[in-house]
């Protein structure tokens, strides 16, 4: 092929190239304008929003848990404290081989597989970059072992935190209660009440007793630490701290020694003891047995352990002082006597003949007195002193159940006392209307007789009995029982206020003296049902015994505690106050299924409680007087 020669026109080619460069330059300029306007858009127009997102990236608000307020008894003895524990925490995002690290740690620190299982369970519910606890409470040996090896395990750290501890264990569970891990229900409740933010760093919340009732005071206010974090969520430096505000310390009316004595006296028996300051409503002792160690709940109780508490025939979870609904039995004879006097059904002089039994006209049944051969001629004073049932059968029948029911309502029966714990029941004060609504049945006269001696459907909690007894002691003043003595408000002790309900006023205040005389005789007269228990007491006192039937006996059956199944034995009850004329303390004893009655079992317990109270509180009172005298 012939080689074609090209005559190259350099100028034309250069001009063509020049035009193309011009086009290219236009494209370049357009591209630069696009870049710059995009930059302007990002750095000027969207600057504020992106600046915010940049800060959101780097600044994390870490909530700081407030220290929970402490709980003391009236003498400053710690009942609930915060003790440091060390947990082994893992930040999964900072660990390359999580599985391997966990198994190495397990070899190093020797903990069960369940801990790893629980860790993975917690891991799912955890936010990104948060610590997940692997071991909640590591001991000092594990602490030392890990501390020496810590450098090998980035992303694994030891965190110290405070955990609630109840040094007196089961002694105060029903009064002080406990805190436990915040669960989903708590979260929902806190969210609804708008308090969830305050719990951002809290792991536990009051679940029972004082811990629950005064949760708001004890918890405190959450604090915040704003920290700068890197892309792995590790805090690089602290920008600012708003310190949490610790919860308020709480002082209870409880006296640890009295409480200890009460638990000791109850021992293995099921029952309750209450000691209440008759002048203030302050609860000096509130025992309920059996009890359990509240510390189990703080650390997370196992299902098995909880089931054993829940299913125990001894019902340890029940606070018998406020949730135990017992037939009050004869302990309410003073109050019913007052109704008789106030109603005019009887006078202080009214006497009846007690042959040892009572009959309703036209009904072929004898209602027996506890004393088979009868008390003879009985007036209101003697009826209380000797706990004559026949007198009360007669009185109750004359009054009728509805009068009794409404008058007893004024003593607080059938309603909650309003004590400062949530675990309380209103028990039951029956009436015609109640029975119709409940069972659709009419009320029978025989049931009225039973109500007259505190039986039948009538139940009352020991706390209700304490309130009703104190009302007699105080001649109608209606105190609301209270565990709280005061709070520490910013380092200053603030005494709790005495709360009262509408007092009971009688047409003649002599009526009070009449029944109080009877109650005094119970403890101090030769035929009083508690005379043996209170023999030679260094203080005057008044009271009323009660023996509640748990099983109703057939007409001719004889009651014999030894022969009857433990569950069907009588409850031994006792209410009382001391000193007899200027009452300062009210005592209530309730012992379930005891081997004896109120006089033989409950009254001696009351005596021992009052003895200790007397030795502790007489001195205290004197000291106070002396201090007052100095002023």
């Amino acid at each position: 092929m012939r080689h074609r020669t090209h005559i190259r026109d350099h100028d034309t080619e250069a001009a063509l190239f020049g035009r193309r460069v011009l086009v290219a330059m236009v494209i370049v300029v357009a591209a630069f304008v696009a870049l710059m306007s995009n930059m302007y858009h990002l750095q000027v127009i969207e600057h504020n929003e992106l600046q915010t997102r940049s800060n959101d990236n780097r600044i994390k608000l870490l909530p700081l848990a407030p220290n929970r307020g402490l709980i003391y008894d009236r003498n400053g003895v710690l009942l609930a404290e915060n003790t440091p524990v060390y947990s082994l925490d893992v930040t999964p995002e900072e660990i390359d081989d999580l599985e391997n690290t966990l198994s190495e740690l397990q070899q190093l620190l020797d903990f069960p597989d369940t801990a790893i299982k629980r860790f993975y369970r917690n891991l799912k519910n955890q936010r990104r970059f948060n610590n997940v606890p692997l071991l909640d409470d590591i001991n000092e040996e594990q602490l030392a072992i890990f501390a020496a090896q810590q450098h090998k395990y980035p992303g694994v750290s030891i965190e110290a935190r405070l955990i609630r501890n109840y040094p007196h264990k089961e002694l105060l569970t029903h009064a002080v209660g406990y805190v436990a891990k915040i669960n989903r229900n708590d979260v929902n409740r806190l969210r609804d009440s708008g308090e969830l933010a305050n719990y951002a760093a809290s792991r536990t919340i009051g679940k029972l007793g004082i811990e629950k009732y005064y949760e708001k005071d004890l918890h405190g206010e959450v604090g915040y630490q704003s920290v700068e974090v890197n892309n792995r969520g590790r805090a690089v430096r602290t920008l600012s701290i708003e310190a949490p505000e610790p919860g308020q310390d709480i002082v209870l009316e409880l006296d640890l020694e009295l409480q200890r004595k009460a638990a000791e006296l109850l021992g293995q028996q099921r029952g309750s003891i209450i000691l209440m300051d008759t002048t203030t409503g302050g609860i000096l002792a509130m025992a309920s047995t059996p009890s359990y160690d509240p510390n189990w709940f703080v650390n997370g109780i196992s299902v098995k352990q909880y089931q054993s508490l829940l299913n125990s025939t001894q019902s340890p979870l029940l606070n018998r002082a406020t949730q135990g609904a017992y037939p009050p039995a004869s302990t309410i004879k003073a109050q019913i006597g007052l109704l008789g006097l106030e109603d005019g059904t009887i006078t202080e002089e009214t006497r009846i003949w007690d042959p040892g039994w009572f009959e309703i006209k036209g009904v072929d049944r004898r209602y027996r007195d506890w004393l088979a051969w009868g008390h003879g001629w009985v007036d209101i004073e003697k009826a209380i002193t000797e706990s004559c049932d026949t007198f009360y059968y007669d009185l109750a029948l004359k009054l009728g159940v509805d009068k009794i029911s409404s008058f007893m309502g004024k003593f607080g029966f059938g309603e909650k006392t309003g004590i400062d714990i949530h675990e309380e029941v209103s028990a039951l004060m029956p009436s015609r209307g109640w029975k119709r609504a409940r069972f659709g049945q009419p009320w029978y006269a025989g049931e009225t007789l039973s109500v007259g001696i505190g039986q039948s459907y009538w139940t009352a909690t020991p706390m209700q009995l304490a309130v009703a007894t104190a009302m007699v002691a105080n001649k109608g003043e209606h105190l609301v029982p209270r565990l709280l003595r005061g709070k520490m408000q910013d380092g200053v002790f603030e005494q709790a206020l005495i709360t009262q309900r509408e007092p009971l006023t009688l047409s003649d205040s002599d009526y009070w003296d009449a029944v109080k005389k009877g109650m005094r005789n119970v403890n101090m007269a030769p035929k009083g049902t508690a005379r043996r228990a209170f023999a030679d007491a260094p203080y005057s006192s008044a009271g009323k015994t009660g023996t509640a039937q748990v099983k109703s006996l057939g007409q001719e059956e004889e009651y014999n505690a030894e022969d009857i199944a433990e569950r069907y034995r009588d409850n031994a009850m006792y209410v009382g106050y001391a000193p007899a004329d200027k009452p300062r303390v009210t005592v209530v004893i309730a012992i379930e299924n005891s081997l004896g009655g109120g006089g033989s079992i409950a009254a001696p317990v009351a005596r021992k409680m009052l003895d200790l109270w007397h030795s502790r509180f007489n001195n205290e009172k004197k000291q106070q007087v002396e201090i007052d005298a100095d002023h």
Binding site: H6, F32, L50
Partner: protein, 372 residues
């Protein structure tokens, strides 16, 4: 009028084949890059030291290449291109044996990256090829040129290195464009690409590729996955504002929210710390370099040099545009570093060799005339 002293200095630079107006922004950007890298690498002075050595080496390469007259360059072109293609084939062959991505070739004591050679060999080859006949090229020559572009591009894409293959293809295509590719064909190519897009989308792309494109279009749809990097980058740029957070004060970079801080995403670090003000200065320097490249291309006499200079300049522009575009969310993320600023060795040497060629063209063209 120039003073004697200035004339002497100018002539000294000229004799060393250095183009002053091009050298100045290159030096400024290189110095700036050390500061930005220091910040982006978490104040690691060792990284800065390594980069200083690379910059020094790159300038030596620039100086050496600048001494080679364009005529000599054109003489080496064909063997260089063929060697480049053969090396790419070799990489693929050895890569098959070595599994996975293979871009490097071990030859005794040194390693070479054939795709980097191709970044220069491609514009050289196309410029040489176009210069064999008068421009604009005939349709047959266009066809030949297209084959020259496609072969190395596909070889590099197979490595796989999409970013580099894109740049290499651009270098070739730019020569064709500058050589006067008819507008009809440009339009036709544009239309066919537009027509092919739906076909590509619905029939040729894998699902994961479609996801990637969707994420590019809206990074917020996958804020913790693929969108995370681009979102963090935009936050870094935007939070810099007009004045920037200050050198070493960029929280997005210092706290490591930004990915690839001292390499591909270094522009985000720069923008966060120096703000829009810094960005405009940076863009001005890049713009000046590109402008200077065009001026050199326009001033030089022979078509080979013109096409080479024009292509090198436009490729440099593509570098800048693609990198800034991708970190600011205008373009999808392809691994292209920010020229002269990003940390990294080989590409910097190649880039400087390219500028060496530009300088050679700028300082030899008068001499060429004299020879003629």
């Amino acid at each position: 009028m120039l003073t004697t002293e200035e004339r002497q200095r100018t002539s000294l630079l000229k004799r060393l084949h250095i183009d002053g107006p091009l050298l100045l922004p290159l030096v400024l950007l290189s110095v700036a890059s050390l500061f930005v890298i220091f910040s982006a690498a978490g104040k690691d002075i060792a990284v800065v030291e390594r980069q200083s050595i690379r910059i020094g080496l790159s300038f030596v390469v620039l100086f050496v290449v600048a001494q080679i007259p364009p005529r000599a360059l054109s003489r080496f072109t064909v063997p260089a291109f063929i060697a480049g293609v053969l090396l790419l084939v070799a990489v693929l062959v050895f890569g098959e044996m070595g599994k996975g991505a293979q871009r490097w070739l071990d030859i005794g004591p040194m390693t070479i990256q054939p795709s980097e050679i191709m970044k220069l060999a491609m514009p050289l080859m196309l410029a040489w090829y176009m210069n064999q006949r008068p421009i604009p090229p005939s349709i047959y020559r266009l066809f030949g040129a297209l084959i020259l572009v496609i072969i190395p591009t596909l070889l590099i894409a197979r490595q796989p290195d999409l970013g580099t293959s894109l740049l290499v293809a651009c270098a070739g295509v730019f020569v064709i464009f500058l050589a006067g590719l008819s507008w009809k064909l440009v339009t036709a190519a544009g239309i066919s690409v537009a027509a092919l897009t739906p076909v590509l989308w619905f029939y040729l792309m894998h699902d994961y590729q479609r996801q990637r494109v969707l994420t590019f279009l809206n990074p917020e749809r996958d804020p913790l996955g693929a969108g995370y990097h681009i979102i963090q980058s935009k936050i870094a740029i935007g939070s810099g504002g007009i004045d920037g957070k200050g050198w070493l004060q960029g929280t997005q970079s210092q706290l490591e929210f930004l990915p690839e801080r001292h390499t591909d995403f270094i522009f985000s670090v720069f923008s966060e710390e120096f703000g829009l003000t810094g960005v405009l200065i940076l863009l001005a320097l890049y713009g000046f370099i590109i402008l200077r490249g065009f001026v050199i291309a326009l001033r030089t006499q022979d078509i080979f040099s013109k096409l080479l200079a024009g292509s090198l300049t436009l490729t440099f522009f593509v570098y800048v545009f693609v990198n800034i575009g991708m970190v600011s969310g205008l373009l999808p993320v392809v691994g292209v570093p920010l020229p002269l600023i990003s940390y990294g060795g080989t590409s910097m040497v190649t880039l400087m060799a390219g500028f060496g060629m530009l300088m050679s063209i700028a300082t030899h063209h008068r001499l060429v005339m004299k020879d003629g």
